[in-house]
């Protein structure tokens, strides 16, 4: 929350920072928040409490399908443990799946590939477009989320998502992770472990992958590991024909 005092202090800090250190671009305005490129580019730096997510950052994932081990589900286990996704319903199609492994077989040559699939954190997300209440939203740093207080459970976003990334919570929930609110009747999907990212950590799936197949970082920062990899190897955006500008990229498919 911004107050007049805070804004004045920010103005002073910004002016001092720009004048003395000459560090990068600083944008400041009443009602907006101080943004410093140097700070934003730090891929795993914690976001300060009370400050908004920075539009200078675009969080993303690069997944190397060549390294994804067949049959391995460590990323799924880690995700669902981290986010408290534990319900097991009689009809498995009603279970929430924030991340899943997909096995692909190329029809032309029979080549097999496995990869994890989750919310692709589109820059132009169809789920956000169609949400009647604005509960589906894209944070300034590119993370696509669902506001659990305003989701009415209409499932229009599930109809609109080209990646089948979203789930409806079909039952009442108990024993949730306090950092990851979930609720019956609301739609949910991968949050890119936003609660960890805001603390300067990487998503649970990335951390759990024994093969190092997943890289997390700021796509906007040319010096970040993810940006360097994307600049040096061919990568793919799934359903790139839709021009959704995905935050999750794949290598090896």
């Amino acid at each position: 929350m911004s107050t007049p005092d805070n804004n004045a202090r920010r103005k002073f800090i910004a002016a001092a920072g720009a004048g003395v250190a000459g560090l990068g671009f600083t944008a400041i305005a009443p009602g907006l928040h101080l943004m410093a490129v140097g700070e934003a580019n730090a891929a795993t730096e914690a976001r300060k409490a009370g400050t908004a997510a920075s539009p200078a950052v675009r969080w993303g994932l690069l997944i190397d399908a060549n390294k994804c081990a067949p049959g391995c589900t460590k990323c799924i286990d880690a995700c669902h443990t981290e986010n408290g996704v534990s319900e097991k319903l009689p009809d498995p199609r009603q279970n929430s799946q924030w991340i899943r492994k997909i096995e692909l077989v190329d029809r032309r040559n029979g080549r097999k590939t496995e990869l994890p699939m989750m919310c692709q954190h589109c820059a132009n997300p169809p789920c956000v477009d169609v949400c009647p209440t604005g509960a589906s939203m894209k944070r300034a740093d590119g993370i696509v989320l669902v506001d659990r207080h305003t989701c009415i459970g209409c499932r229009y976003c599930m109809m609109a998502c080209p990646y089948k990334a979203r789930s409806l919570v079909h039952v009442p929930l108990t024993e949730q992770n306090p950092e990851v609110p979930r609720g019956q009747g609301c739609v949910e999907s991968c949050t890119l472990c936003v609660h960890r990212v805001d603390k300067g950590q990487t998503p649970a799936c990335v951390e759990s992958c024994p093969e190092g197949a997943m890289v997390f970082g700021d796509l906007n920062d040319p010096s970040s590991a993810i940006a360097k990899r994307i600049a040096s190897v061919p990568t793919t955006q799934v359903r790139g024909d839709l021009r959704l500008d995905l935050g999750v990229r794949y290598q090896g498919i």
């Binding site: 319903l89 009809d91 498995p92 199609r93 009603q94 279970n95 929430s96 799946q97 899943r100 492994k101 997909i102 096995e103 692909l104 077989v105 190329d106 029809r107 032309r108 699939m117 169809p126 956000v128 477009d129 169609v130 949400c131 009647p132 209440t133 604005g134 509960a135 305003t150 989701c151 009415i152 459970g153 209409c154 499932r155 229009y156 599930m158 109809m159 609109a160 998502c161 080209p162 990646y163 089948k164 979203r166 789930s167 409806l168 919570v169 079909h170 039952v171 009442p172 609720g183 019956q184 009747g185 609301c186 739609v187 799934v238 359903r239 839709l242 498919i253």
Partner: protein, 437 residues
């Protein structure tokens, strides 16, 4: 034209005095003014039995509505785990029923528009009933949609948080305004002082119902993810579907009301309305053919077209339910001279159109979701989340009851509406002949 055998009023003469626009004056008032013209009675029921029958119908409608609401409360309490819907088929039977009611609600208003906007005299006496049916059906449809929400208790959030890019968001404006314009239109038709405003209100209603159905079609037209949807053709197609389904519902309700009052639909009216229905059925068939031909032309959609037309449980629903029962059979009944001239067969044709409409929407909504998303074109895929797999859906009892509850609400509102207000169409044949209509 005069009254004929008991319970069979063919037509009646021009009434001696009329209001500014005249044609909606009450039957009862005419009876008191010129009793010699009218000896029509409730064909078979005496007034006490007739009243009892009304309460019975209202009670049945109320009971079905209440059971539907009870089913919704059960779903709200237990979660959608008690439904047949899942994370692939996210919209189920309630959406089939709700969208039918909403589309037909706007379509039934076409009857009023034929009179007020296009000046067809024969349709003017039918405008009040079409307005009532529109309000009743849209209420039933919206109730089902809203009660099926994962968080139905948060419906107020939909009104307080508005996303202008969402077609569902537009609905927050489209539906309340629809209620408003139809209510005002009814007011101008039923209140003599408001007659001068009737044409303006009718025109506004016509424009708004086109906008509303465009919105309903656009719910699917704007979906880029699934092969079944995502084409602008759906907006005009939904409009023509609404014309067809709305008129079919109107014909059935109108005939029921005539029968209730011991009347027979005048042959001239029957002839005109059945021709219009046939035209709309053919138009829906035309759009259906164009939609599937266009889809089949795109290589990326051939697999889906093959699935929906030939290789799934939906194929038989399409060919038998939608095409044979809902399209070809009604067309035959409406054009085959021995059946086309009889009210009974025209009504059966209209009922078949309604049955076909449900098949149409089931194939479109459920079938469209059952086919797997083509996330990785050129690959065979599988996962724990039904990737690459055809899903199968069967509605659970609570879903069915909720869906029927929507029909119950529409039925109850209509039954009470026609009982307490003047909605029975009253044809003025002298005026019709004078208008050359």
């Amino acid at each position: 034209m005069m009254k004929h055998a008991k319970g069979e009023l063919i037509a009646r003469p021009h009434p001696p005095s009329r209001g500014a626009t005249g044609q909606f004056a009450s039957l009862k008032r005419y009876q008191s003014l010129r009793p010699s013209y009218f000896t029509l009675t409730m064909a078979t029921l005496n007034p006490r039995h007739e009243e009892g029958f009304f309460y019975l119908l209202a009670a049945i409608g109320g009971l079905v509505s209440a059971v539907g609401i009870g089913a919704a409360l059960y779903m709200e309490h237990s979660g959608h785990v008690v439904t047949g819907m899942n994370n692939q088929i996210v919209w189920g039977l309630p959406h089939v029923f709700a969208i039918f009611l909403i589309v037909a609600a706007s379509g039934v208003l076409n009857v009023a528009s034929m009179g007020s906007v296009f000046g067809r005299t024969m349709y003017k006496p039918r405008a009040p009933l079409s307005g009532l049916l529109a309000l009743a059906m849209i209420s039933g449809g919206l109730a089902v949609i809203m009660l099926d929400l994962g968080r139905a208790d948060r419906i107020i959030v939909a009104a307080t948080h508005f996303n202008p890019t969402s077609v569902f968001g537009w609905n927050v404006i489209l539906y309340p305004v629809f209620y408003g314009v139809v209510a005002v239109y009814l007011w101008t038709m039923m209140e003599r002082r408001m007659y001068p405003w009737m044409k303006v209100a009718g025109f506004a209603t016509f424009i708004w119902r086109i906008v509303l159905t465009t919105g309903t079609g656009s719910i699917f037209a704007f979906l880029v993810a699934r092969q079944a949807y995502g084409t602008a053709l759906l907006a005009p197609m939904f409009i023509i579907m609404s014309f067809c389904w709305g008129l079919a519902v109107f014909l059935v309700v109108q005939s029921t009301m005539y029968a209730w009052n011991g009347l027979t639909l005048p042959p001239l009216v029957l002839q005109r309305m059945k021709n219009l229905l046939a035209t709309f059925i053919a138009a829906v068939l035309y759009f259906t053919i164009v939609l599937h031909l266009a889809n089949a032309y795109y290589a990326k959609n051939i697999a889906f077209e093959y699935f929906i037309l030939f290789d799934s449980e939906f194929a038989s629903m399409f060919w038998i339910g939608q095409i044979l029962v809902g399209t070809l059979l009604p067309l035959a009944l409406l054009f085959y001279p021995p059946t086309a001239a009889r009210a009974l067969w025209v009504n059966i044709a209209a009922l078949l159109v309604v049955v076909g409409a449900y098949f149409h929407l089931y194939v479109f909504i459920i079938g469209g979701q059952a086919f797997p998303l083509d996330i990785f074109p050129g690959y065979d895929v599988k996962s724990s989340f039904m990737d690459g797999a055809v899903d199968h859906y069967s509605a659970s009892l609570p879903e069915l009851l909720l869906s029927l509850g929507g029909l119950g609400i529409a039925f109850t509102m209509t039954t009470i509406g026609v009982r307490i207000l003047r909605f029975l169409p009253q044809d003025d044949f002298a005026q019709l002949e004078a208008a050359g209509d």
